[in-house]
Amino acid sequence: MYLYLPVALTSINIMIPIGLGLVVGLLSGLFGVGGGFLMTPLLIMFGIPSTVAAATDSNQIVAASTSGTYAHWRVGNVDFKMGLYLLLGGFAGGLLGVQAIKILKATGNADFAIKMTYVLLLGTVGTYMFFESISSMRKKKVETEVKPEKESAFAKALSRLPMQTRFEKSGVTHSLLLPVIFGGFVGVLGAIMGVGGGFLMVPIMVYILRMPMHVVVGTSLFQILFNCIEVTFLQAYTNHSVDFVLAVLLLLGSTVGAQVGAVFGRKLKGEQLKVILAGIVLAVTVKIIFDLTLSPSLLLGQGGGH
């Protein structure tokens, strides 16, 4: 069955957005990412204008991450305190990022530098996560006792920062500045790249903030939820590019997918989740490299996508 999308001004087979929503929602519930990296280009491929695809996706993520956050909160896997500080940083970072884009655009050739940085960052993070989680899975098999936490120089430096506070849910003690700074960093990148940044936020929470994987997923979703509320409103208000009908079709799939992902995620160990996520991050990196190097079939297109 086809439905007409009043803002995208095109018609779509309803099974496409519902199916896409289901898959992306599943990833969201499992790993705490928004899934814009997958959803936006696929929507464009199915004929949705790029600005509408990005804006509508953020509206859909509001629903998927509400569903996911709720599912993770029920089993006590959302660190609200950490989430709030990350949000604070993310909000400031988003504003900064918008200014950064203006400066970068003025210098010309910024797209190239930004895309290369993003690809390198994703590639490095994905590779590191992959090998780290594989080696920790092996270690656990060999020695059953928990290895004593060795404090690295980096961790020591972090513990000397002012405003140290305890994050109960995550079981970690950090300076309040830490989530604000890293939230800000991801916010800047997100604004520049036009993506939510879940792929960078999750590894930061795991490796730098040293939070347990299951709490990371829930907290990341909580943070994404508020980010996407802000983005949806701004897009609807300034660009008029949110398609309500498309968003409803997408969320029919994604809210259910997020629940299934959350349930499924509980059955997996933290390391297993990390290894799969690392695989997906690497696959996304390869996909971006392909997109950049293969000759496109059309040399002209609408602006506004990522």
Binding site: Y4, P6, A63, A71, F233, D243, L292, L299, L300, G301
Partner: protein, 264 residues
């Protein structure tokens, strides 16, 4: 009535009949008509494109060209190019002026076989004529303009907004010295609401000898219209409703799963 009078009346009648036939014959060779059957297309929730047929009568010796187009406007598109020798990225912005968003052209024979270039350009018939009509920037020379115009056509044909065909117009048997013609074209759902003009040109000896017009109006109706107006005119409320609905749906599905799933 005397014989002379009767003869005079007969002559008069004959003269009138001859004159009438002559007038009718003349009209048959000089009148072109065009009717678009589906002149008001309404877009509702279940709209998935439509069809538009154009029919009329024409001079049997003339070739026909049917043009369906939206009013000329400007378009801004991103140009992809290679950076550093191997990476494809958006490298520039191409601006086009005097281009219709929808341009669909159908002819009885290939346009360049039946029409002089001057006439093609005058009425903007066919891609080459449109290419000469369009203003494009930034382009350094004609070669570059031709290259990007080709890319533009590819982009438009890909979204079904541009189309051409030759030989698809059905020409039927002569009726009273005129030939009825008929063509059925697909109306793409990608065509946005608006006014579209259908123009039929009769062509003889490389020149356009006659034209006839008809209109197609595409309009959103019902909920589609309400939503699209609200998105444009009341962005804040629209955004608010979108967010509240998403929150509600996410929370609602969460509750359903809690009851149904029995995780606790």
């Amino acid at each position: 009535m005397d014989k002379a009078k009767r003869t005079a009346i007969l002559l008069l009648v004959i003269a009138l009949v001859v004159l009438g036939v002559a007038v009718l014959a003349d009209r048959a060779s000089a009148e072109l008509t065009a009717i678009a059957n589906h002149d008001h297309i309404t877009i509702d929730f279940f709209y998935h494109g439509s069809t538009v047929s154009v029919k009329g009568i024409a001079d049997p010796d003339a070739d026909l060209i049917i043009k369906i187009a939206s009013p000329e406007a400007h378009e801004t598109l991103k140009q992809k190019g290679k950076v550093g020798g191997f990476l494809w990225m958006n490298v520039a912005t191409l601006k086009l002026e005097n281009v219709p968003n929808l341009y669909s052209i159908h002819s009885t024979k290939k346009i360049d076989e039946i029409l002089d270039q001057k006439e093609m350009d005058k009425y903007v018939l066919g891609y080459p004529a449109l290419g000469r009509h369009v203003e494009m920037s930034p382009v350094k020379n004609d070669e570059e303009k031709a290259k990007w115009f080709d890319e533009f056509i590819k982009y438009k044909e890909n979204s079904k907004l541009y189309a051409t065909s030759a030989g698809k117009i059905e020409i039927k048997d002569k009726v009273d010295g005129k030939t009825p013609y008929y063509i059925l074209t697909d109306w793409p759902y990608q065509a946005p609401p608006g006014d579209y003009l259908v123009t039929v040109y009769a062509v003889k000896n490389g020149k356009v000898i006659e034209q006839a017009e008809s209109k197609v109006l595409v309009e959103q109706v019902g909920i589609v219209n309400t939503l699209s107006n609200m998105a444009k005119k009341n962005g804040a409320l629209y955004g608010f409703i979108s967010i509240i609905s998403a929150l509600g749906a996410g929370f609602g599905v969460g509750l359903i799963f809690r009851k149904g799933g029995g995780a606790h």
